[in-house]
Amino acid sequence: MKRYLITALFAVTAVLGALAVPASASPVAHTPKLVLCSENAPTAETVSTEGLHHIGHSLLRGWYVCVEGKPVWLKASIETKTWCNERSNMKFEVKILVVRNGDVVLKREILWKTKKDLGLCVTPSPTPTDTVTPSPTPTVTVTTPVNNPAPPAVAVPGQPSFTG
């Protein structure tokens, strides 16, 4: 049981460490120093990630974990976004799945990180179709502002077929 916990702890730590990497860093720029792998690291644990929950603009980039004492890059299928707005306070949910001898232990961590925390708010390059509004802070921008209120619905004559 201890080994489960240790492995999970390592994985979470690795996740947190990887999340702290600035947005500008590419995966190859990650260095093993972010990974708490050591000779004493648990071995032969299969550690994978599952269900990176993203609402819209996920920015998690993936991370290393320790497998047999060696850092292994777990590539996360994540879209890289470059701008932030008032929704930047979204919560990222990371599930860590630990499999040992066929037994699955699901470790779940909620990371109360924001895009800004992750250093991933980048001012976008405006395209001709984008309207970029200056934000309160230099790194936060809002694209595609919606300023036109929808008018009340226009009623069409007819016979409703609703269930009643």
Binding site: G56, V146, A150, G158, T163
Partner: protein, 247 residues
Amino acid sequence: MNKPLIFARIVTSLLAVTSLLAVSSCGGSGQKVTATRSAPTSAPSGAGAGESIILTARSSQARVYSSVTGSAYKTVRAPRPGVPLTFLAIDTDDSGRWKALLPTPPNGSTGWLDSKDVRVSKTPYMLEIRPRVRQLRLYKLNEILTVYGVGVGTKATPTPTGNYFITQLVRPSNPGGPYGPFAFGLSARSSKVKNWAGDPIVGIHGTNRPELLPGAVSNGCIRMDNTVITRLAKLLPLGTPVTIKAA
């Protein structure tokens, strides 16, 4: 008349008066704000707090994509001639697509729309229905404007819970009929109504049996006093979010 019935009618009357006052003051600040929405519907970027983004198709049909990068997998059409095809945006992406609640079954269906295919607007309004207490709550910018006593589905034909939106507004030829003067169609369908000739769309509409309100009296639709549905018909746009709660 027994006491519970008298009490119910007093409550209904008070709710109706309150409703009228509130709706008539929706554009201003006359109505006292009593509470905020407990679980705001997530709004995509571009919308302010308490606002929802509405996507209106540029034509009477729109292609729906499976993902932000996926290919089109179906085409959705307007609910009836003359009615714009509307979606409720729930997410967006830099790539130029919107994720949206679809007006098509099954309930809660989502898909991605190309931003070139839709016009974007927003609404501060939202409806929340609480069948258990026979209430419909009107929100503006996450704040309750008023509460209406309504008719909801019976135990056998309950009003389906979930997140939906208004897809159409119909003006029946007979305003004194069972649908009253106006009927909103929702993106919700009843799975309990059997032998229904058409699409079992859940609606919010008036009634010719106001004495039954509030109560569990319908086939799943939400029935309102005719004066109130008339007010709402002049206020709410297609695409307005409608949350039907289990509690």
